[in-house]
C-alpha cells in the first residue's frame, strides 16, 4: 500500500473536493470535519514517507496506470511511457511544508472567514490549491507539471478575489491569473521545445540525454522566465504586492507557499532538467548562476526598500516576501554557479553546497515566519477593518497572544538569534562571502532594513493608546485562529532551537534529491 502513497496524496484530496459540493449541502460541520480529516490524512501520509525517503535516502517512483507501478521504464525500452511521480528529498521537503501550511491555514480560516454560502467554494478551492502544490512537487513529467501549475494558479486567483464585494479584489485576481497564465504559456513553449528534440516529457529521461543545443537553451530561458515570474523575483515582482494585499489572510499565507512551489519548479528546471554537465557543449552554468544571483540581489534590495515606505501592512509584508525570495535565489544561484566549475568540485563542496543548504533551509524558515506574519495581519484586519497602518493603534493592550507571535515572527524573519532564520541566514552569509563578498554585505544590509520595517509595523499597530472607537470587532479571537498562529510560532521556535537536526533530517536529503539524478 505504501507504493501508492505518492498518488494517494494527490488523489484523495481531489476525490474529497469533487464530492464536496454534495457534502456541503448536509451542513457546515460535516464539510469542515471531512476537509480537516483529509488534510490531516495527507499530512500523515507525507510523514509516513519521511523514514524511507529522508533517512534511507530512497527515491520513490510511482507510475500511474501501469500494471507494475514500481517499474519506471518498461522492459526493453529506454524511456518511460506513462506519467511518473517521483518522491525524492526535495519534493518531500516542499510537500511537507505545503501540507503543514494547508493544515494551519485551514484551522485559521475556520472562523476567520465568516460563514456564508460562498464559504463552501472557499473550502473547495483551498483543498484544490493544496492538491495543486502537492502534485506539482511530486510529478516528474513536464506536461503534468504544467497542468498542476495551472490548477495552482486558477485556485489561487479565485481565492485572491474572495471578497468580491470590494472593488479591488476582482482586479487583483485578474492580475494574478493573467501573470500565471502567461507564465504557464511560456513554460509550455519550453516543454514543446524539449519534446521536439527528445520525444519524451519525462524529466529524468530528458536529463539523461540532454545535449544543450540552442533549442534546449531557449527552452531553459522560457521556463526560467516563466517560473521566476510566478515566484515573484525581481524585475517581474510588481504583481506580488497588488495581489497579496487584496487576499484574505490565510489565502495570502497559502500564496506564500505556492510561490515557493514555483521556486521549487525553477530549481528543478535548473538541476533536474538541465543540470547534466556531461555532454560536450554545455550551457554556461556560471552565467546561469549569475543570472539567478542578480535576480536574487535585485529582489532583496528592491523588495526591502519598497517595504520600508509602505503603510498598508499587507503590502509591506508582500514586498518583504519579494525580498526574502531573493535570499533563496541567491543561495541556489551560488550553488548553480559553482556546480560545474573546473576545479574538481572543490568550490562546490566547500561552499556551494553550504549556500544551497542555506537557501533551502531558508525556504522553510522564511515561509513559516512569513505565513505567521500574514496571519497576524489577518488579525489586524479583523480588529480594525482596514490594512492601513495609519488607522491602527494599541493592539498589544488587547491581543497578547497575537503580539507575542508577531514579535517572534518579526524577529525570526529579520534573522535575529536564536530564531530559525538566523541559522539559515548565517549559512548564507558565510558561504556567499566566500563566493563574492559584496553579495554577503548586501544580504546583511537587507536584513537590517527588514528589522527596521517590522519595527515600524510593531510601533504603529501594537504600541500606542488602546482606542476602542476605531475597533470594528472587539470579540476575543476564536480558538482556531489562536491555534493556527501558535502552531506556526511553535514551529519557528522548534526549528530555531534545533537547527542541526533540521539540517540533517530535512535539508541535507533535500539537496541530495535535487542534485543527484540517477
Amino acid at each position: 500500500m505504501t507504493d501508492n502513497f505518492p498518488v494517494l496524496i494527490i488523489a484523495l484530496p481531489l476525490l474529497v473536493a469533487f464530492i464536496l459540493p454534495i457534502v456541503s449541502r448536509a451542513g457546515v460541520k460535516p464539510r469542515n470535519i471531512l476537509v480537516f480529516l483529509v488534510i490531516l490524512a495527507v499530512n500523515i501520509m507525507l510523514l509516513s514517507l519521511v523514514p524511507e525517503v529522508m533517512i534511507r535516502g530512497k527515491i520513490l517512483y510511482s507510475v500511474i496506470g501501469s500494471a507494475d507501478p514500481a517499474r519506471v521504464v518498461p522492459e526493453g525500452l529506454t524511456f518511460p511511457v506513462r506519467i511518473v511521480l517521483r518522491v525524492d528529498g526535495f519534493s518531500l521537503f516542499m510537500a511537507l511544508l505545503s501540507g503543514f501550511f494547508s493544515l494551519v491555514c485551514f484551522i485559521f480560516s475556520l472562523r476567520f472567514i465568516p460563514e456564508h454560502g460562498r464559504k463552501n467554494y472557499y473550502v473547495l478551492l483551498f483543498l484544490l490549491m493544496m492538491t495543486g502544490m502537492l502534485g506539482l512537487e511530486f510529478t516528474n513529467d513536464l506536461f503534468n507539471f504544467f497542468v498542476f501549475l495551472e490548477i495552482l494558479s486558477i485556485s489561487g486567483a479565485a481565492l485572491v478575489s474572495y471578497r468580491t464585494d470590494r472593488s479591488h479584489p476582482p482586479y487583483a485576481g485578474y492580475k494574478y491569473l493573467l501573470v500565471s497564465t502567461i507564465a504557464t504559456s511560456f513554460f509550455l513553449l519550453g516543454v514543446a521545445l524539449c519534446y521536439a528534440q527528445y520525444g519524451s516529457l519525462n524529466m529524468e529521461y530528458i536529463h539523461r540525454f540532454m545535449n544543450h543545443t540552442l533549442l534546449d537553451r531557449m527552452a531553459l530561458v522560457f521556463m526560467l522566465a516563466a517560473l521566476a515570474m510566478k515566484a515573484g523575483a525581481a524585475p517581474m515582482h510588481m504583481w506580488v504586492p497588488d495581489t497579496y494585499s487584496e487576499a484574505p489572510a490565510p489565502v495570502t499565507a497559502m500564496l506564500v507557499i505556492s510561490s515557493q512551489a514555483s521556486l521549487y519548479g525553477l530549481f528543478r528546471i535548473c538541476f533536474t532538467l538541465f543540470g547534466n554537465p556531461i555532454s560536450r557543449d554545455t550551457i554556461n552554468y556560471h552565467t546561469l548562476g549569475w543570472i539567478i544571483i542578480i535576480m536574487g540581489v535585485l529582489s532583496m534590495f528592491v523588495g526591502v526598500t519598497m517595504a520600508l515606505v509602505q503603510h498598508d501592512v499587507k503590502r509591506l509584508m508582500a514586498f518583504h516576501s519579494v525580498s526574502q525570495t531573493g535570499y533563496l535565489l541567491m543561495g541556489i544561484g551560488v550553488g548553480v554557479a559553482v556546480y560545474t566549475l573546473n576545479d574538481g568540485g572543490a568550490a562546490y563542496n566547500s561552499y556551494g553546497r553550504v549556500a544551497m543548504a542555506g537557501g533551502i533551509f531558508h525556504i522553510m524558515n522564511y515561509s513559516i515566519s512569513k505565513g505567521l506574519l500574514f496571519l497576524t495581519a489577518g488579525v489586524m484586519f479583523r480588529r480594525f477593518g482596514t490594512c492601513d497602518l495609519d488607522r491602527m493603534t494599541g493592539m498589544a493592550h488587547r491581543d497578547t497572544v497575537t503580539t507575542a507571535v508577531f514579535i517572534i515572527g518579526a524577529l525570526a524573519i529579520s534573522g535575529i538569534p536564536p530564531f530559525n532564520a538566523f541559522s539559515s541566514k548565517l549559512l548564507l552569509y558565510e558561504s556567499v562571502y566566500r563566493f563574492s563578498p559584496v553579495l554577503s554585505i548586501i544580504a546583511m544590509f537587507v536584513s537590517v532594513l527588514t528589522l527596521a520595517s517590522f519595527t515600524k509595523v510593531f510601533y504603529s499597530a501594537f504600541l500606542g493608546p488602546c482606542r476602542s472607537d476605531i475597533l470594528v470587532d472587539e470579540e476575543p479571537l476564536p480558538a482556531g485562529m489562536i491555534a493556527g498562529m501558535t502552531i506556526m510560532a511553535a514551529a519557528i521556535i522548534v526549528t530555531g532551537f534545533l537547527p542541526s537536526h533540521t539540517l540533517n533530517l530535512l535539508v541535507d536529503p533535500a539537496i541530495s534529491g535535487l542534485v543527484t539524478i540517477f
Partner: protein, 280 residues
C-alpha cells in the same frame, strides 16, 4: 520602457526564427519507419521502438484495446493529465459560482420584467423560438455519439461534452428555459460533481495494481474487454476496458460544467441589463 520592450520583442522574434531553422523539418518528426509493420499477438512489442509515440502507435491497440490512439493516450497513458484537466474545468466552474454568488443569489427575476427587457417571445421569429426545440435533441444525440465512440473514432469525452453544451447555449439564447436558471444550476452542478466522482472512482477501483489502471482492458469481452488485433479494423464497441467509461464520465462533467458556466454568465449578463434598464 515601450521602446525597450519592443526591441526585446523583436530580439526574441529573431531568436525564434533562428530556432525554427534548428528544428526538424515539418513532416519529418522523430520515429522509426518500421513501426507500422505487422506484429504478433504479444501485448507489448518493444522491438525497434525508440520514441514514446512509436510505442503508443505500436502497442496502444493491444494494451488498451482502443482503436483511437489519441483516446488511449488521453485516457490511459496520460490519464492523470486528463484528471488534472477535468479538475481545472471543475475549478473554474466553482470559481465562477463563487465570484458571482451574490449576483446569483439576488431575488428572482420576475417574469414580466424579463419580457419587458427582451421583448420576448412576442416579436421573435418562429425559427429562433422553435428551431432550438428541434435542434436540441439532434445536438444531444450527436454529442452522446461522440462520447460513446470516443475509443473508436475521432471524438471523446471533451469533444462530445462541448458539443452537448452548445445545445445548452442554444436553449439559453432562444427559449423560456432561462427563467428557471436558479433551479437548473443546482442540478447541473450536482451532475458535474457526479461525473468527476465517477472518473476518480474508476481510478481508485484499480488501486490494487495502481491508480487509474485499466483493469478491464484485457478481461471479459462482455465487460468492454474484447481484444483487438493490430492494424486497421472496423472497431468494436465492447473493447478498450475503462476508456469508454472514463470518456463517459468526462463527457458528463464537461457537458454540465460548461452549461453551468454558460448559465451563470447568462444570468449575470441579464442582471446587468436589468440594472442598466432600471438606471436609465
Amino acid at each position: 520602457m515601450k521602446l525597450g520592450s519592443l526591441l526585446s520583442l523583436v530580439l526574441i522574434l529573431g531568436f525564434l526564427f533562428v530556432a525554427v531553422l534548428r528544428l526538424h523539418p515539418v513532416g519529418q518528426p522523430l520515429g522509426h519507419p518500421g513501426v507500422m509493420k505487422d506484429r504478433g499477438s504479444a501485448v507489448t512489442d518493444t522491438a525497434n521502438i525508440f520514441t514514446m509515440d512509436d510505442y503508443y502507435i505500436r502497442n496502444g491497440q493491444a494494451e488498451t484495446g482502443s482503436n483511437n490512439i489519441v483516446a488511449s493516450v488521453v485516457f490511459d497513458y496520460r490519464g492523470f493529465d486528463t484528471l488534472g484537466e477535468a479538475t481545472v474545468l471543475f475549478l473554474v466552474v466553482s470559481s465562477i459560482s463563487m465570484l458571482m454568488y451574490t449576483i446569483l443569489k439576488q431575488k428572482k427575476i420576475k417574469k414580466d420584467h424579463f419580457f419587458k427587457i427582451y421583448n420576448f417571445p412576442t416579436d421573435i421569429s418562429r425559427i429562433i423560438s422553435f428551431g432550438p426545440y428541434l435542434l436540441y435533441p439532434i445536438i444531444i444525440i450527436f454529442g452522446a455519439y461522440l462520447v460513446a465512440h470516443g475509443h473508436l473514432s475521432p471524438g471523446g469525452g471533451f469533444q462530445g461534452g462541448a458539443v452537448m453544451a452548445s445545445g445548452t447555449a442554444l436553449l439559453l439564447i432562444s427559449s423560456l428555459f432561462t427563467i428557471h436558471i436558479q433551479r437548473v444550476r443546482r442540478v447541473f452542478s450536482f451532475f458535474e460533481s457526479l461525473g468527476l466522482a465517477i472518473y476518480i472512482g474508476l481510478g481508485f477501483a484499480g488501486i490494487g495494481t495502481s491508480f487509474l489502471h485499466n483493469f478491464l482492458a484485457q478481461g471479459n469481452p462482455l465487460f468492454l474487454g474484447r481484444a483487438i488485433p493490430f492494424g486497421p479494423n472496423p472497431g468494436y464497441l465492447n473493447s478498450a476496458g475503462l476508456l469508454p467509461l472514463l470518456s463517459l464520465a468526462i463527457g458528463i462533467e464537461v457537458f454540465f460544467g460548461i452549461s453551468v458556466i454558460l448559465v451563470t454568465m447568462y444570468h449575470v449578463a441579464m442582471d446587468g441589463d436589468i440594472k442598466d434598464a432600471q438606471e436609465s
